[in-house]
Symmetry: C2
Subunit: 340 residues, 2 copies
């Protein structure tokens, strides 16, 4: 394998100095159009590949943003990552997505590695439970960084935080069930004491309290498996409960199938509202009511906010919450009668 050509090779081939080649690379207006074309032809002829490491060494930004995600297997986060990346890509920024798999050590390792690789910015949906030493290192490296969806470092002046307005979401879901006549409403799923759980549950608690109703919380992992298990538990031990606000759609999906297995039909025998409104909600039967957190838009907006920060120096607000809305479907309203 022969060495990759350098700007010197291109310069020789094009009959110009290497400064000129560099200028062409920077899209500088100083270069005459004919010269530029000549240089570009030479680059093509020699299969020239720009060496970013060299440029980087001279202090040029890498144009690489690190997207650090706590659980890429969860469709909610996948959607966030995918839409943020598309937005960056449209603006010519490359994105490196990394999954930390809820492991603080992997997150620390990932962040360190990205710092070494010289990322220009970070967008992080962090894991809970790690120390914030990674954030300290980011701060010292002076890399613009936003926390999204989860806040683990309190210094939002340095690491601005953006998320959805989960408290309002919990309120909308609960009020909806109350308006449908439910009195015994549970909140199902979400690990105890996690900020997200507290936020999503806050709206639920407020409405229940205001209505003089008893709040009942079934904590658990935000998984399909837990939802399924809880459907059985409720059916066996808590027959009085008639509806549930779920921590997430995954939990609600689990309940949907858990109930289906024992012949309980959602929307008729039990009402459920999920949270996140992932695509699947309108593709299951019965269709799942949910709190829409427009994650596609959230991903795009987060990327744009980040770009304004690193390109135009516009520092994002310390905390920003995107609005949510209730999407009522069959799992709470009741399904249309079957036609088959």
């Amino acid at each position: 394998m022969k060495k990759r050509p350098t700007i010197m090779d291109v310069a020789r081939h094009a009959g110009v100095s290497k400064s000129t080649v560099s200028l062409v690379l920077q899209n500088s207006p100083l270069v005459r159009e004919a010269t530029r074309r000549q240089v570009e032809a030479s680059m093509a002829a020699l299969n020239y590949v720009y060496n970013r490491s060299a440029a980087n060494l001279r202090g040029v930004g890498t144009g690489l943003v690190g997207l650090v995600i706590n659980d890429l297997r969860n469709p909610f986060f996948t959607e966030f990552a995918a839409s943020a990346q598309m937005a960056f890509s449209r603006r010519g920024f490359a994105t490196a997505i990394a999954n930390t798999n809820e492991d603080p050590d992997i997150q620390a390792q990932t962040i360190d590695s990205m710092i070494e690789h010289g990322v220009s910015a970070f967008l992080i949906s962090p894991v809970y439970g790690g120390e914030t030493s990674s954030f300290d290192r980011i701060e010292r490296a002076g890399i613009p960084t936003m926390q999204v969806l989860r806040m683990v470092d309190e210094r939002t002046d340095i690491f601005p935080f953006a998320s959805h307005d989960y408290a309002t979401g919990g309120k909308l879901a609960t009020r909806h069930l109350v308006e449908l006549g439910c009195r015994n409403i549970a909140f199902v799923g979400g690990l105890e004491d996690r900020p997200i759980t507290l936020e999503r549950m806050a709206g639920y608690r407020n409405v229940m309290e205001a209505e003089g109703l008893r709040a009942r919380y079934f904590p658990g992992r935000p998984s399909r498996a837990f939802g399924r298990e809880t459907a059985r538990t409720l059916n066996r031990d808590h027959r009085d409960i008639e509806a549930a606000v779920c921590f997430s759609d995954l939990v609600a999906m689990g309940m949907l199938f858990g109930f289906a297995e024992i012949g309980v039909e959602l929307g008729r025998d039990f009402r459920v509202v999920g949270f996140d409104d992932i695509e699947e909600c309108s593709l299951v039967f019965p269709q799942l009511s949910s709190i829409r957190c427009d994650t596609t838009r959230f991903g795009e907006k987060s990327a744009e906010t980040m770009l304004r920060w690193i390109e135009d120096g516009v520092h994002p607000p310390a905390v920003h919450r995107y609005p949510v809305e209730l999407v009522a479907r069959h799992s709470s309203l009741g399904a249309p009668r079957r036609s088959g």
Copy 2:
């Protein structure tokens, strides 16, 4: 923001030469233990951050592998990417995941960018329909690269291909349905003439032909929406069809819910076998029979194969197919009676 410290700063602080610091960085055995500890203490004290761009410029590998994925929103590919990344991470390799979103232009841009960033290797699940010029550029850059799950460049001697044994999967699914007494079996989903569709359908066609049965193909996008639509079509226009082998679990899920909406119960009124065996299969009702392609294992094995290539020079076989198996569940066998 003051400049980041360099090895010179560390050397001064530790009272050694910069060569020594570099040696410590390389974990060289040439450095005395006491010296090493001294240097490490200085690095900690100064918040030294290794500059990979500088090292890279000197010809050291980046230890970065590019994972280029055609559709990260599809749980099947997400699982592949996540498990491959974990495997690389365990061996100290950083991974940059990128989603090309089935867009040839984005794929080309992504690959070029990763080449510039100096990735040490590529693992690519490519998009269909782009030219292979990106692969040409990879070849010229001399970067070890594997195609996984989809083969778009025929030069498997240069770009080894690994996937699952889909043909056998199609065979197992079809034979299973035949053994359950089905005669009119359709193949649902998969875009026409795509290699994957052809492979998955090949086993189906073989069995149907051997049994003297008529093969019937309903092509379409591998999505839940298409599955749901097809359930309706079959119920309306093809009452004689009694079972389906689906191109993917997403299609099968769509059929499951489409049928549920019109009161057709899977496993009783109609039998379905999906493909991929994503986690959801055992969490829906009725549980979905599927062809298990152990994607977690596939991701890990692919990463390991790649590592053996770049670290030990072991070139992977041109084509490798991992075995699949049938997992029979309620959607083909019939559900147990409801207990509720």
